[in-house]
C-alpha cells in the first residue's frame, strides 16, 4: 500500500439538505472532485484534488457547497513549517523542480499598503471629478529633448512615435498558450472599448486577434515564437521581453501538451512540440547588444513603432533601466516580484527579485538624476490590486501600469495558483476545449471593461481630492505620498516623507 505523505489542502462541504443531486458540480470540476455514487443518483465529493477554485461553489444552483481549509496539525515548528515539509515530500516523490502558478503568496511587505495619499484641505481646493474636466489620458513614447518652432508657431521637431491611451492601465503580457484564446479575446475587446492596449505575450498572434492589432502590444522573446515582419508591423508597439517579475532570470517553457493546433498556429511551431524560450537572448549579452535588437526592430518597422523593453525588478534595477533608456528603448516596463505567471519554479518565484514599489521609485529617481527621464516612458507591473495602487505607482514615477491578475479575477480567476496544471475550471489558464468554451468573451470583456471603468472613476476621485486635474501633474509627484511604519532607508528609496511630516 502506498503512503500518502501529504494531507489534502481543502475539504468540500456539501449541505445535504440543500443539495438536489443535479450533478452540476460533477460536470464543472476538471479535477474530478465530485462524482455520482454507484446508485447513479446521489452526488458525492472527495476533496483530495480540490484546489479551491470555487467553480462548483459559484455554479451550484442551490448554494449547497462550501470549501474549507483542511486542518491537520503538525507539531508546532516555526522553522519546519508544514509547507516546507510537504514540499520536501513532493520532491522526494518525483525528483522534480517545484512548479506553481500566479504571483508569490509569501507575506513579503506590500509597500502600497504602507503609503498614504494626500488630499486638499482649505489651502487649495479639491476638484469634483463628476462636474469638472479630469484628464487621465496617457501618452507613451520617447519625448524630444527640446521643442523648436517655426515663425507661425508650428513645431519643427520630428516627433518620435507616440501611443495614446485613454487610461494609465494596460493589460500585461499573457501569451496564448498560458491563457486561452477566449481569455485573450476578452482582453483584446476590453482594450478596444477602453482605449487601452492588451499584450499578446511571447506566444505570437492568433489570426482571430487580427481585428485588434491596433490595440496590441506584441512581444519578441528569446524563442521568437510567431515573430515575423507582419507581426511587428501590425501592432501598437513592440516589446522585447528580457524578464518577468515572477521569475527573473528564468525563461518560458510551454510544455508540448499545451501546444494545441490553435496554439501551434499562433506560435508557428508544430503541434505538441515544446515551446522553449530560455531567459537569455543569445544575441544580447550587453546594453550594446540590446541596442542592436532595438534598432533592428525599428529598422524592420520603418521607425514607426515605439520599442519597449520589459525587465524584471532585480537588484541594481535603476542602472539597468538607465542602460535600456540609453540603448534606445522608448518604453521600459519594470515587472515587480509579486507579478503573476502561468507557471514558475516556486523557489524562483518566492525568492528572486524585488518589489515594484522600490524598483520603480529608484529607477525614476535615477533617470531624473541623469537627466534622461523624458527619453522613455516607465511602465510599472507586478501586482496592482486596486485603483489606489495605480495612483501610488504613478505618483512614484510610472507613466502607466500593466495589470493582468485583476482582469483575470474579473473573468473568474480565484487565485488557486494551479495555472500550470492546465486544468483551469474558469477557462482562463487552459487549452482544453471543454473548459475554454466556458469563458464567453462577449460576456467577460464587459466585466473587464466595468472593472477598469470603475478604477478610472476612482483614480479621478483620488486625483480630484488632491486638487489635481491631470494625470501628468500626478506623475512622479511624490509630495502626494507619505509612508506609514517605514524605516528611514525605505523612505529614502521610495523618495517620500513619513506620515505627519
Amino acid at each position: 500500500m502506498s503512503v500518502n505523505y501529504i494531507p489534502r489542502r481543502f475539504t468540500v462541504i456539501r449541505d445535504r439538505e440543500l443539495c438536489i443531486n443535479c450533478g452540476c458540480c460533477v460536470r464543472q470540476c476538471s479535477n474530478e472532485c465530485h462524482y455520482f455514487s454507484d446508485d447513479g443518483k446521489t452526488v458525492l465529493s472527495q476533496s483530495d484534488a480540490c484546489v479551491a477554485c470555487h467553480r462548483c461553489v459559484d455554479l451550484c444552483p442551490t448554494r449547497a457547497l462550501r470549501i474549507e481549509k483542511y486542518v491537520c496539525d503538525y507539531r508546532e515548528n516555526a522553522n519546519w513549517t508544514p509547507q516546507y515539509q510537504q514540499e520536501i515530500c513532493r520532491q522526494a516523490e518525483t525528483g522534480g523542480v517545484l512548479l506553481s502558478g500566479m504571483g508569490t503568496p509569501k507575506p513579503y511587505p506590500v509597500y502600497w499598503d504602507k503609503i498614504l495619499l494626500n488630499a486638499s484641505q482649505v489651502t487649495n481646493p479639491s476638484i469634483d471629478p463628476l462636474r469638472e474636466p479630469m484628464e487621465i489620458r496617457t501618452i507613451l513614447g520617447r519625448k524630444p529633448e527640446k521643442l523648436t518652432v517655426e515663425k507661425k508657431g508650428k513645431s519643427t521637431v520630428e516627433m518620435p512615435p507616440q501611443v495614446i491611451l485613454e487610461t494609465p492601465i494596460m493589460f500585461s503580457a499573457m501569451s496564448f498558450g498560458s491563457i486561452s484564446l477566449n481569455a485573450q479575446k476578452s482582453l483584446a475587446m476590453a482594450a478596444k472599448e477602453l482605449g487601452t492596449l492588451f499584450n499578446v505575450g511571447e506566444g505570437g498572434l492568433h489570426p482571430d486577434l487580427k481585428p485588434f492589432t491596433d490595440r496590441a502590444v506584441v512581444q519578441v522573446a528569446s524563442g521568437r515564437f510567431g515573430v515575423h515582419s507582419d507581426y511587428l508591423n501590425n501592432s501598437k508597439y513592440v516589446e522585447i521581453k528580457i524578464g518577468q517579475g515572477a521569475k527573473p532570470g528564468i525563461g518560458g517553457h510551454l510544455p508540448g501538451e499545451k501546444v494545441s493546433v490553435e496554439v501551434s498556429n499562433a506560435r508557428m511551431i508544430p503541434e505538441g512540440s515544446d515551446a522553449i524560450s530560455p531567459a537569455p537572448h543569445h544575441d544580447i549579452y550587453s546594453i550594446e547588444d540590446l541596442r542592436q535588437l532595438i534598432w533592428a526592430i525599428k529598422q524592420a518597422t520603418g521607425n514607426k513603432k515605439p520599442v519597449s523593453v520589459k525587465i524584471a525588478a532585480v537588484h541594481n534595477i535603476a542602472a539597468i533601466v538607465s542602460g535600456c533608456a540609453r540603448a534606445g528603448a522608448d518604453i521600459v516596463a519594470i515587472d515587480g516580484f509579486r507579478g503573476g505567471t502561468g507557471a514558475a519554479p516556486v523557489r524562483i518565484r518566492d525568492n528572486v527579485g524585488i518589489p515594484i514599489e522600490l524598483a520603480l521609485a529608484s529607477s525614476d529617481q535615477r533617470l531624473r538624476d541623469e537627466g534622461i527621464r523624458s527619453q522613455i516612458s516607465l511602465v510599472a507591473a507586478g501586482s496592482f490590486r486596486c485603483s489606489a495602487d495605480i495612483v501610488k505607482a504613478i505618483a512614484l514615477g510610472a507613466d502607466a501600469c500593466y495589470c493582468a491578475s485583476a482582469p483575470l479575477i474579473a473573468m473568474g480567476c480565484h487565485m488557486c495558483q494551479t495555472c500550470n496544471t492546465g486544468k483551469c475550471n474558469w477557462g482562463i489558464a487552459t487549452q482544453r476545449p471543454e473548459l475554454t468554451k466556458r469563458l464567453n468573451p462577449e460576456i467577460m470583456y464587459k466585466r473587464v471593461v466595468n472593472l477598469i471603468t470603475a478604477w478610472n472613476h476612482e483614480i479621478k476621485e483620488i486625483m480630484g481630492g488632491m486638487g489635481i486635474n491631470s494625470i501628468d501633474s500626478l506623475r512622479g509627484n511624490r509630495l502626494m505620498l507619505r509612508g506609514i511604519g517605514l524605516s528611514e532607508k525605505e523612505l529614502e528609496i521610495l523618495g517620500i516623507r513619513h506620515a505627519g511630516e
Binding site: H228, S229, D230, L232, I269, P270, D283, Q292, W295, A296
Partner: protein, 244 residues
C-alpha cells in the same frame, strides 16, 4: 547604378536603399563597411546585392527577399528570418540564423558561435542553413526544426567540424555533417544516424545549390559520407517539474 556605402551611417544608407526599392526590384550597394541592418524585412521579389563587409543584423526578419553578399557577414545574419535566401561569399559571425523559420542561408566558409540556434519549422516552412566549412560552439542550440548542413570543406589540420556543446537543448530538426566530426562536442541528448533515402534527396538539393553558388566540386563533396544528428527525444525537459 549602385549605392556606395563608404563610411556613412547605416540610417542614411538604409534609407537610400529603401528609396531605391520603391521603384526597383534589384539594388546593389558597394563599399559596405560594417553598416548594420541591411536588407531588414526585405520582402519577396526584391534582391539586394552587397559588396564589402555587411554589419550586424543583416537581413533581420527577412520577409522573402534575396540577399547576395560578396564579402563577409558579421553577427546575427538572418536573425528571425521568415523566408527568402541569403548567400554569403565569405564567412559569418555569431548567432547566424537565430530563430529562422523559413528560407535558406548559404555560407561559403565558416560560421562562429551559436549558428542556427532556435531554428524552427512550421508546416511548409522549413529553414535551411548550409555552411561550407565548419561552425563554432553551440551550433543548433535549442534547435526545434529545419536543417543545418555542415560540409567541412577546406578544414586545416586540427580544425574540428563544430565546437563544443553542439545541439545543446535541441528538440527538433536535423543536422547533416560531412566526414569526421568531434563526437565529444555533441550534447548528451543527440544521436548520430545514417541518412534515409529521403534525407539523401534533400541533402543533394542543398549541396547542388551550394556548388552552383560558390563554384564548388559536387563529386568531390559527395565522396565523403554524411551522417545525420538528431535529438534522442523531442521532449528533453518533459520530467523536469512537479506541480506544487
Amino acid at each position: 547604378m549602385s549605392i556606395t556605402a563608404g563610411i556613412r551611417g547605416y540610417t542614411e544608407v538604409n534609407n537610400e536603399i529603401n528609396t531605391e526599392f520603391l521603384s526597383k526590384d534589384k539594388v546593389t550597394v558597394a563599399e559596405v563597411n560594417g553598416q548594420r541592418y541591411l536588407g531588414c524585412a526585405l520582402s519577396e521579389g526584391k534582391a539586394l546585392e552587397i559588396r564589402g563587409t555587411a554589419g550586424n543584423d543583416l537581413a533581420f526578419c527577412l520577409n522573402g527577399g534575396r540577399i547576395i553578399l560578396h564579402g563577409h557577414g558579421q553577427d546575427a545574419v538572418g536573425n528571425t528570418m521568415g523566408g527568402g535566401e541569403i548567400i554569403i561569399h565569405g564567412h559569418a559571425g555569431d548567432a547566424l540564423g537565430y530563430g529562422m523559420r523559413d528560407g535558406q542561408i548559404y555560407v561559403r566558409d565558416n560560421v562562429c558561435c551559436r549558428g542556427g540556434i532556435h531554428m524552427k519549422e512550421f508546416r511548409s516552412m522549413k529553414p535551411v542553413l548550409v555552411i561550407g566549412s565548419n561552425a563554432g560552439s553551440f551550433l543548433g542550440e535549442y534547435m526545434a526544426g529545419g536543417t543545418i548542413v555542415l560540409l567541412g570543406l577546406n578544414l586545416k589540420r586540427g580544425e574540428k567540424l563544430f565546437g563544443t556543446h553542439c545541439s545543446s537543448g535541441m528538440h527538433g530538426g536535423k543536422i547533416f555533417v560531412r566526414g569526421a566530426f568531434p563526437k565529444e562536442n555533441l550534447s548528451p541528448n543527440i544521436k548520430a544516424v545514417s541518412l534515409s533515402d529521403e534525407d539523401n534527396k534533400e541533402l543533394d538539393e542543398y549541396v547542388k545549390k551550394y556548388c552552383r553558388y560558390f563554384d564548388a566540386d559536387y563529386d568531390e563533396i559527395m565522396k565523403k559520407p554524411f551522417m545525420k544528428l538528431i535529438p534522442e527525444t523531442s521532449r528533453p525537459y518533459a520530467n523536469l517539474y512537479t506541480a506544487n
